[in-house]
Amino acid sequence: MSKIMEWIDARLPVTELIKSQATEYPTPKNLNYWWNFGSLALMVLIIMIATGLFLAMHYKPDALLAFNSVEHIMRDVNYGWLLRYMHANGATFFFIAVYIHILRGMYYGSYRAPREILWWIGIVIFFMLMGTAFMGYVLPWGQMSYWGAAVITNLMSAIPVVGEDLVTWIWGGFSVADPTLNRFFVLHFLLPLLVVGVVVVHLWALHAVHSNNPTGIDVHEGKDTLPFHPYFTIKDLYGMGVFLIIYCYFVFFAPNAFIEADNYIPADPMKTPAHIVPEWYFLPFYAILRSIDFLGAFSKLAGVIAMVASIAILFILPFLDRSPVRSFRYRPLSKQLFWLFVANAIVLGWVGYNPPDASLFHGAIPLILIGRISTAIYFSYFVLLWLITALNIEKPRPVPKSL
């Protein structure tokens, strides 16, 4: 055996790679459970690709056949129901893992130097995931699929001059129709494979600068680190076990908890459902889109810009945060801002879930008002974080010298 490995290693240094990048890879010894969500996201990505490949063997990307082929998968294909429920709920759990992963990076300052490129690649992956999830949701060709696709592609029409032509080009016609479904299927198949490639670059960037840790301080290799295996392989596996238990609960006992009932009605281009809601993971951004409605004819474009900006602003987060300390553990003001940001994101999601003309207390507080305030709070997180750190308003507590 070792003779064979020697022969291979002389030609392709596999053992060396596994040792330096996996088993003996130095990892900060104080990583807490929030550091599990990167490997959890990777696990869900693998589940999604595996189930997606096998679903694609039964699915038909044709406007006349798509809806029935999904029902065929559910009723006739052996374990088709399992593949589909794993895939549909997998999207939800993917976003749970990714959101926690991003928030962990925000809380412990993992976006700070020297990890800016690592952070940027992560945002690129997030954008790709959102596109993939959106196009995947169109494939069952139910009412929510269809009208979700109509609304989101129509966002493009807000772009001045070329907007209308761009939308026709994306549709391949004058409305969301068969050509749209066909190309979305192809892109939904292609994008995750590209995501795998970008994830490899994400890991490369991670291994170049190494993991951050809850204290945010630079670690000394040896004194502050442990080999990845077995210390963190076992920790990651344990996290996967817990995560899978919750995931399996939904797959087997509440598989439609996250699926809108209207999506079991075949797509009807002549009739819009009374209330269109995106999937839960898009709700905060959808609320931001709808909240910009006070700029007259400019509202539509402004709403789209605000929605894109709400994620794109993460790109400049490394430069907005001027604090000498990375981790919010030692930053009292930043910590409060962070939790306000998280709570506010949930409020935004709730606003996005409700109809646009809904209100609280019998019309006393229109939801649109709450949406506008929440949108302002969302963006002010980034402005305030910059202010309190650039002007030294925040006095960080002392950080430890070593772990």
């Binding site: 009208w147 109509a150 609304v151 592609t153 129509n154 966002l155 029409s157 026709t168 080009w169 994306i170 549709w171 391949g172 016609g173 004058f174 409305s175 129709a177 050509p179 190309r183 281009p269 002549m270 009739k271 819009t272 459902p273 009374a274 209330h275 269109i276 709808r290 409605d293 007259g296 004819a297 509202s299 539509k300 709403g303 109809p355 646009p356 003309d357």
Partner: protein, 175 residues
């Protein structure tokens, strides 16, 4: 001196080669990009004929045209009055009702909300006696003009003609 000339020569060659390469790739990309535009059979669905002979006063029908819904409303005198009352300059997208219909009683609208493309609900559902878009709460009046909500423009009036008094042709034949 000679080396400098060589370097200039080399820079020039690298630049021109790169420029030709980029232009070549861009030209080769065009057929791929263009393949996404509406195909010939999609473009062929340019017109729809509708028999409006049986349409009663106050009645509304929805017909598909180019895969999109078109509302055809036989307006009552009250609906027309409401529409004429809206002939003011203060509208978000000012337009005269008379310019939006060929026959006062017949309203033909592309039932695609100018906000984000949802289909508004039938006439009588919105404020101003018109159409309510359920997605984001835009209200259109009995002439299909935007009166309230996030939509930037009035509902579009598609090109239409009367083949004979009871047959409507929506759209324009291509070529």
């Amino acid at each position: 001196m000679a080396i400098e000339v060589e370097e200039n020569r080399r820079d020039f060659l690298i630049l021109t080669t790169s420029a030709f390469g980029v232009a070549g790739v861009a030209a080769a990309a065009w057929p791929f990009i263009r393949s996404w535009s509406p195909s010939a059979d999609v473009l062929a669905q340019a017109t729809t004929e509708v028999d409006i002979g049986a349409l009663q006063k106050g009645q509304m029908i929805t017909v598909p045209w180019q895969g999109k819904p078109v509302f055809i409303v036989h307006r009552t005198p009250e609906m027309i009055d409401l529409a004429l009352k809206g002939d003011t300059e203060s509208l978000p997208d000012p337009a005269k009702d008379a310019d939006r219909v060929k026959r006062p009683e017949l309203l033909v609208l592309l039932a695609v909300c100018t906000h984000l493309g949802c289909v508004p609900q039938p006439i009588g559902t919105g404020s101003y006696g018109g159409f309510l878009c359920p997605c984001h709460g835009s209200h259109y009046d009995t002439s299909g003009r935007i009166r309230q909500g996030p939509a930037p423009r009035n509902l579009e009036v598609p090109h239409y003609d009367f083949k004979n008094p009871t047959t409507l042709v929506i759209g324009k034949a291509l070529g």
